[in-house]
């Protein structure tokens, strides 16, 4: 699956979510099984089946995190009582900066 198609599917699941990090490049480099796993994980986040974490900087911000293999990481952020905000996909190094920035 190409990233364009994945973005379309994810937007249908989460509505108007932003894509952050090197989403396109990282998604295209995932194996097909991992791509499916990512989409399924996004659906599970929507269905409240995934563990959540709350930001220490902004108590109205919650997030869902997942590791893909040894290097790729994903963060999905959401307003506590509102919409999904952004889906971040990138290498672990950039993920760590992002986690700190978000207060997770």
């Amino acid at each position: 699956m190409q990233y364009e198609e994945a973005r379309k599917i994810i937007k249908e699941v989460l509505n108007d979510v932003k894509f952050e990090g090197h989403f396109n490049k990282c998604f295209d480099n995932l194996k097909e099984t991992q791509q499916k796993e990512l989409i399924k994980w996004v659906e599970d986040c929507r269905d409240h089946k995934v563990n959540i974490i709350q930001s220490k900087k902004d108590r109205n911000l919650i997030g869902f995190v997942k590791k893909f293999g040894s290097n790729l990481r994903i963060i999905l952020t959401k307003e506590k009582e509102g919409y999904f905000l952004a889906l971040f996909l990138d290498k672990h190094k950039y993920y760590e900066f992002e986690m700190l920035k978000l207060g997770f």
């Binding site: 563990n51 959540i52 974490i53 709350q54 220490k56 108590r59 590791k67 290498k91 190094k93 986690m99």
Partner: protein, 283 residues
């Protein structure tokens, strides 16, 4: 430079050195220096004018220049020589960069990777070549607790001053605890989160900066959320004032209980139980 030789090495090779490379006086000064005894003015002059240049010349045969070794007593046999070779290889590729080798390669017979850290102003992509894992870190990492721990058992091509005092707020500790619990419950590889957690927790509760070997040994013993939570409870009670714990934890317990009504999130249950236990014991 004298980091690379020991008193024992000088004693064993005294016959080869005395009268051929160093005079008896120079050898005695070198021994004194290696024993970390204070040198008088004359001895210091001798050391810097005659002894150190000779050592540098000798090491240049082996392509060794400035080498800084910390925690030699913990290092496994042959690893110093191997590390210096690796350091010199990497140095050719990354000229004029500050390079450090640390991690289990230095002290453990078995190891997965050889961790090499390069400190740069500009961000670069980490890479792996065989067993060598090259990590690029920003220069502000020198001021971190991570660097102070990392450098305790390390070989580098630069000298530095380690920071020993760190300001660590309760929120930092909560983040590292919550993140670790979440990784364990998600059945992910949580070794990095565990390392950060143990390093932080030991510092806030006892003021101790663990070295990489201590961290490696501790990590092997911590294998469940129950152990992690118990370590957390004891450490925050020792590390923070009752008022700070009370105000913050109360707030998060309320938040997490509300969230639990919407989300079936196992980690929130664990956080609530742990924070309630802290409140019960500390306040």
């Amino acid at each position: 430079m004298e980091n690379f030789i020991t008193l024992d090495m000088v004693n064993k090779n005294e016959d080869n050195l005395d009268g051929k490379i160093f005079t008896s006086l120079q050898l005695n000064i070198l021994k004194k220096r290696l024993q970390k005894k204070e040198l008088n003015v004359n001895e210091r002059t001798y050391y810097y004018k005659y002894i150190k240049p000779k050592l540098e010349a000798m090491f240049s045969f082996f392509n060794i220049s400035e080498i800084n070794i910390n925690g030699r007593e913990y290092m496994a046999d042959n690893r110093i020589t191997k590390s210096v070779k690796i350091l010199n290889q990497i140095r050719k590729k990354h000229k004029n960069k500050k390079i450090m080798i640390s991690g289990s390669f230095l002290f453990n017979k078995d190891y997965n990777d050889i961790d090499v850290f390069i400190f740069t102003k500009y961000d670069k992509e980490d890479y792996k070549k065989g067993k060598i894992h090259v990590n690029f870190l920003p220069e502000n990492a020198f001021d971190s607790l991570f660097f102070s721990s990392l450098s305790k058992i390390s070989i580098s091509n630069f000298s530095y001053t380690k920071k020993n005092e760190f300001n660590m707020g309760l929120n930092n500790i909560l983040q590292s605890y919550e993140f670790l619990i979440n990784s364990i419950l998600n059945k992910e590889n949580y070794q990095k989160e565990l390392r950060d957690f143990l390093l932080n927790i030991e510092y806030i509760s006892k003021g101790i900066i663990l070295n990489t070997r201590q961290l490696y040994n501790l990590r092997k013993k911590v294998k469940s959320t129950k152990i992690v939570s118990n370590i957390f409870i004891n450490a925050v009670i020792l590390g923070y004032k009752k008022s700070i714990l009370g105000n913050n934890l109360k707030k998060y317990i309320i938040d997490y209980k509300r969230l639990l009504k919407q989300y079936k999130s196992k980690n929130l249950d664990e956080y609530i139980q742990t924070y309630e236990k802290v409140m019960e014991l500390a306040i």
